[in-house]
């Protein structure tokens, strides 16, 4: 069985697709491909393909942050992308993915939310990040986080007319205020070894996975242990953080 084969190879430090343990699949980032979206990006990590669209709208701020814009992140595991995905509202995995991507951006202060305030307490920009999986071959979270970041960098404001309180979506002007760039690096533990960018066959037998959000400046903005039925030791987490910071540089290059 594929499971046994994956584990057998790992014992020798090898992987089914021939990669080294710390090697990413080929990365491809294309932006501006959805004309209806204010920002968009398609990211491939090997055969995993994710499309992200950023839409902007105007809404009311939350009462406890009256001078800040609003971020809403949603992920759809469309049945188009895998025989394992089903129609219906997002399941726990899609919800977890959206929330991990969202936290990395929100808590890493990637967007300058105060610059999204139009009128304190009344009108702010709302930023919608919609993650649409097109093909699932593993490590959706890193592909999604990279595509979300690329789409945010691509995004421009539609022209806002404060007198008519109307958006002219055909006239785009000015980029979203982005403070930093962030990417995530996901590691999987198999047979006690840590590898990066797992494919589906590896995710199925992983003891656990750890996703680490890393910013351009090398600081950590999010972590999420997920997948599998296992644990990490302190040393494993510690090494994973170092490895993630090193691999993040490769991913960040694709955002330049």
């Amino acid at each position: 069985m594929m499971e046994d084969y994956v584990l057998e190879l790992i014992r020798d430090g090898r992987r089914v697709d021939g990669r080294k343990l710390d090697e990413l699949r080929p990365v491809k980032v294309e932006t501006g491909i959805i004309k209806r979206a204010e920002g968009s990006a398609k990211v491939s990590l090997g055969d995993t393909v994710v499309l992200v669209g950023v839409k902007l709208d105007i809404g009311e701020p939350f009462p406890d942050t009256p001078n800040q814009g609003i971020l809403i992140t949603n992920a759809e595991f469309s049945p188009i992308a895998s025989p394992d995905f089903e129609s219906g509202p997002p399941g726990e995995d899609a919800i977890e993915l959206a929330r991990v991507v969202d936290r990395g951006i929100r808590e890493g202060k990637i967007i300058d939310f105060e610059k999204l305030c139009i009128k304190e307490g009344e009108k702010v920009w709302m930023v919608f990040i919609d993650i649409h999986v097109l093909n699932h071959k593993g490590n959706l979270v890193d592909a999604s986080a990279l595509a979300a970041m690329a789409a945010l960098l691509d995004a421009k404001f539609p022209k806002y007319d404060p007198e008519k309180d109307e958006l002219d979506r055909e006239t785009l002007e000015g980029k979203l205020p982005i403070n930093h760039k962030v990417v995530t690096v996901t590691l999987a533990k198999l047979n006690g070894k840590m590898l990066v960018d797992p494919i589906v066959d590896e995710e199925k037998v992983a003891e656990a996975t750890l996703t680490i959000g890393v910013k351009e400046d090398g600081k950590v903005s999010s972590m999420q242990k997920s997948g599998g039925r296992g644990w990490f030791s302190y040393d494993e987490v510690s090494k994973a953080i170092d490895l993630a910071i090193s691999k993040s540089k490769e991913l960040l290059k694709h955002l330049e």
């Binding site: 004309k35 209806r36 393909v49 499309l51 669209g53 188009i80 992308a81 919609d130 093909n135 699932h136």
Partner: protein, 241 residues
């Protein structure tokens, strides 16, 4: 129902520069979703749809199976970022209706009786919407079925016709769709001119209706050629969304 005041036809040209019976630039590619048994991306101007087919495969739970033929399931959806105002994810009444007419448009083309107890799932996702999304979905779904090797009587061609500012036109874009006097989305099998999808709303004389249907069938043959070209291209080159 026209909601804007500017003219949609000026000097015999449409707002995007087309002649009344001109179809937008067409892009068709098959095999774009690696996981799927069949898939296709179809673009008419700024309307872009990706479709995937999973199956034929055994239908579970068993009590839903039809012992005499495969069940065809269709789901049409729009990505939240495919429209100017972000759409809420998930099916609404419109997409439920379109999923049904899409299924009725494709069923007559498929030899469902060759796969008793099976299910064939067809998913069409609108990535960019600029009018005529359901007929673009038919083209994508039809190509994805062929790409999956599902045995078919013929490909199903999708194309819309309509009337704007008194002129009969083909392949409505979004602005025309929202402001037309009539809109007729159609699906048909070119061989034998078998109409499998036919909807209309607006205000037309019977003669106009018939004329538009005829225009769509005639022009649809060009779309049919594009479909066949895309299927041939697959064997030459593999490309992925």
């Amino acid at each position: 129902m026209k909601k804007i005041e500017e003219p949609l036809i000026v000097d015999g040209k449409r707002i995007d520069g087309r002649k009344p019976e001109e179809i937008r630039e067409i892009e068709m590619r098959v095999g774009v979703i690696k996981n799927a048994d069949g898939s296709a991306l179809v673009r008419f101007g700024n309307t872009m749809v990706v479709a995937a087919v999973y199956g034929p495969k055994p239908l579970l739970p068993k009590h839903l199976q039809d012992p005499e033929k495969a069940i065809l399931r269709c789901r049409y959806g729009m990505a939240p970022f495919s429209v100017p105002e972000r759409a809420r994810p998930g099916p609404d009444r419109r997409s439920i209706e379109i999923s049904k007419v899409l299924r009725l448009a494709l069923e007559p083309a498929i030899f469902l009786e060759e796969y008793p107890r099976a299910v064939i799932e067809v998913y069409a996702e609108v990535l960019q919407a600029d009018g005529s999304t359901r007929v673009t979905s038919i083209n994508a779904a039809s190509l994805a079925l062929a790409d999956a090797g599902v045995p078919m009587r013929d490909l199903v061609v999708g194309l819309s016709g309509g009337k704007v500012d008194g002129t009969l036109i083909l392949d409505l874009n979004g602005k025309e769709d929202n402001n037309c006097e009539a809109d007729i989305p159609m699906g048909f099998m070119p061989r034998g001119e078998k109409i499998t999808l036919l909807q209309m709303d607006g205000d037309l004389t019977p003669e106009e209706v018939k004329k538009i249907i005829r225009m769509v069938i005639d022009a649809g043959k060009k779309v049919y050629e594009e479909q066949k070209k895309a299927l041939h291209a697959k064997y030459e080159k593999e490309e992925v969304v």
